[in-house]
Amino acid sequence: MTLPNAAITDEVVAEHGLTQDEYQVVLRILGREPNLTELGIFSVMWSEHCSYKSSKRWLKTLPTDGPNVIQGPGENAGVIDIGEGLAAVFKIESHNHPSFIEPYQGAATGVGGILRDVFTMGARPIANLNALRFGDPDHPKTRHLISGVVGGIGGYGNCVGVPTVAGEVNFHPAYNGNILVNAMTVGLAQADRIFYSAAAGPGNSVVYVGAKTGRDGIHGATMASKEFDEDSEEKRPTVQVGDPFTEKLLLEACLELMERDCIVAIQDMGAAGLTSSSVEMADKGGLGIELDLDRVPVREEGMTAYEIMLSESQERMLMIIRPESADEARAVFEKWDLDFAVIGSVTETGHIVLKKDGVVQCDIPVEPLVGEAPEYDRPHTPTAPQPMIAAADVAAPKASLGEVLALLMSCPDMASRRWIWEQYDHLVMGDTMIRPGADSGVVRIRDTDRGLAVTVDCTPRYCLADPKTGGAQAVVETWRNITATGATPLAATNNLNFGNPEKPVIMGQIVGCVTGMGDACRALDYPIVSGNVSLYNETEGTAILPTPVIGGVGVIENVNKLATPALKAAGETLVVLGQ
């Protein structure tokens, strides 16, 4: 096999985010030196983002099963049974770093990514949520960031036509250099028509659909990729631009095709693009995949195997279909003016093999590529318990109660978010029964009396003070917010946003929060069915507050019995429940 002639020096390995120890494993798996494309693939698959190498050990402790769970973590999204033969499909995902670099596009593509995770599984998205964290409102960047992020979330979701029905926004100086943008989507599917990502049937076709591949967001070695990029006069932006219109077409085309019997498996091309989608599909099916990269629809000329495999272009999907279904499937995608290309086939080799220009450019055994991904038990120091504050030590406010109330209501964390959710189409689809501004958003399930109550919550300062209690509190708050509408909480998703896990203190926060979350979920029979982890949220050594955002979903059998916070008439009795 001819290899692209780039020397794999220690520096190139380091630029791909692999440690020397990790690289030794690569050498052992391959029994030879990788070429640059192969190194790129290992780098992507073994990144924190794809491999969960720091958090996996702790995520395993979460309860993920229960009578309603159809699919727990491990697929594109979690799936739960919501009665009447229907399923809710949902997940939350972060797009923190891209949103800090380019708030509008970063947030927009975050929404695009989570929508794809949900409709890949055969569900029509019916509700979007977002959990946002910004720095000090007076910080010079905050205004620009928040207006961009809110604009991007609205710009994408409104165009695709999915109502954004709930969310939360916090401000704290710890997020000055590191905002958090977590987006959640809830979709609706037939419980017996869920689509999964495991490749099956050697000889079946691997099909690429959606938008073309460009040189978007190719990470990795700036130095190494420079070789492929000599003529580029400007540094390539690492930000992707979202195209919600194409996403809407992709959504409709996929759902249309799913009504027929064509799709064997389907997987969206998320952050790690063609690499993670093809590798994961092969791994889950215990099979191999061979791709001819010359057949990948590209937007730019002269793209290399490395670039095609690592591109983060948006609005793309990978499917496995039976060869005899190809014409039928192609007709659907062409109706929607989308690219459709058979780019390879499922094999029995257990290897991922990539060809370009008639030459094999990559040949990696899939099982160890996934199975031997690093997993760390990083040292963790528990957060020291904080002394209790005695009420008597807190000075009573000097102002009148009315003034205190006004002060509370005008502080950034408490003030009305109406100006935000008015920029989100929260009514499209005509099934929004509780709009933003209440405890949970509620959307009706079309053609039934049922509704889904959805919410996202976290109180980071609690998590900082006491990670375990804070993690539990976030779970419990979603549970309460769902219950308050009259719905029964069924399951949750989570987005773990933390600093650098290589620091024992941060790792201690992760361990504490996850433990607390697990305890609360077990106590409430409220399993975690999906989630996302975003680590290394630090600027100049300062970490964000520990922010394990929980997204909850509950069902109400009769939406006519919904409870809302509005006072209904004068003279009614107010009751306080609980302690």
Binding site: G151, G154, G155, N158, C159, V160, G161, D243, P244, F245, T246, K248, L249, W336, D337, W421, E422, Q423, Y424, D425, H426, L427, V428, M429, G430, T432, M433, R435, R444, V559, N560
Partner: protein
């Protein structure tokens, strides 16, 4: 009442419109893909809301050029009523079936909220379910709802009673224009009042659970008028 909805790539309130028409008329509208030129014999054609072609270039510009829109124009010329809501209104102006243009909201932000509208007259196919001057509340959800026409056109629209709805405050007085629209215009008719374009979404206010049912008057009125 038999109806048809034109579906564009990027339409997203087409299904909301189906629900409203089904409730009011008891039958399902025919869904016509924008590439088709055949539209069945119907009493009403609806151009629904959404982001046809992503609202790229100008909202409604590319949708207006669809093959189906040629047929819509022909039918409209023969007197078949046409209703355009939100993106549908934008498409009808871009197609030249209604005067003026819809520009970016003056606040430059997407705006989704419930607004109050004054029904200028009940003397139309579309508003016979309301009374003259009635104030109704229905939601808006748009980026480009800022109605523009030159002053002569605006005067003419007003003189001929072609203004269908205006944004008002809850008490019916001027105010609460959500998008900078000229003369608070939320919806207009063509000269024969057989074509209505409006930015707000009556189809999202037809059941108590929507938080209001003021949108029903439009559909119920149409069903009665076109029976």
């Amino acid at each position: 009442m038999k109806s048809a909805i034109i579906v564009f790539p990027g339409s997203n309130r087409d299904r909301d419109m189906v629900m409203a028409l089904r409730q009011a008329s008891g039958s399902d509208p025919a869904m016509i893909w924008h590439k088709e030129t055949e539209i069945p014999d119907v009493d009403l054609i609806v151009v629904p809301g959404g982001f046809s072609y992503g609202d790229y270039l100008r909202a409604g510009a590319m949708g207006a050029l669809s093959p189906a829109m040629r047929t819509v124009k022909e039918r409209s010329d023969k007197g078949v009523p046409v209703l355009g809501v939100c993106n549908g209104f934008q498409i009808l102006t871009e197609a030249g079936m209604l005067p003026g243009a819809l520009m970016r909201n003056s606040g430059l932000k997407f705006v989704c909220k419930t607004v109050h509208l004054k029904v200028e007259t009940s003397q139309s196919l579309f508003t016979s379910g309301y009374s003259d001057g009635q104030v109704i509340s229905v939601p808006v959800a748009h980026n480009d709802g800022n109605y523009f026409a030159d002053p002569d056109t605006l005067d003419r629209l007003e003189d001929r009673g072609q203004v269908a709805f205006r944004y008002v405050a809850a008490d019916g007085k001027p105010g609460n224009n959500p998008n900078g629209s000229q003369r608070d215009i939320a919806g207009i008719y063509n000269e024969t009042k057989t074509v209505l374009g409006l930015m707000p979404h009556p189809e999202n206010a037809i059941e108590a659970l929507h938080g209001g049912t003021d949108g029903r008057g439009l559909f119920d009125g149409l069903v009665k008028a076109l029976h």
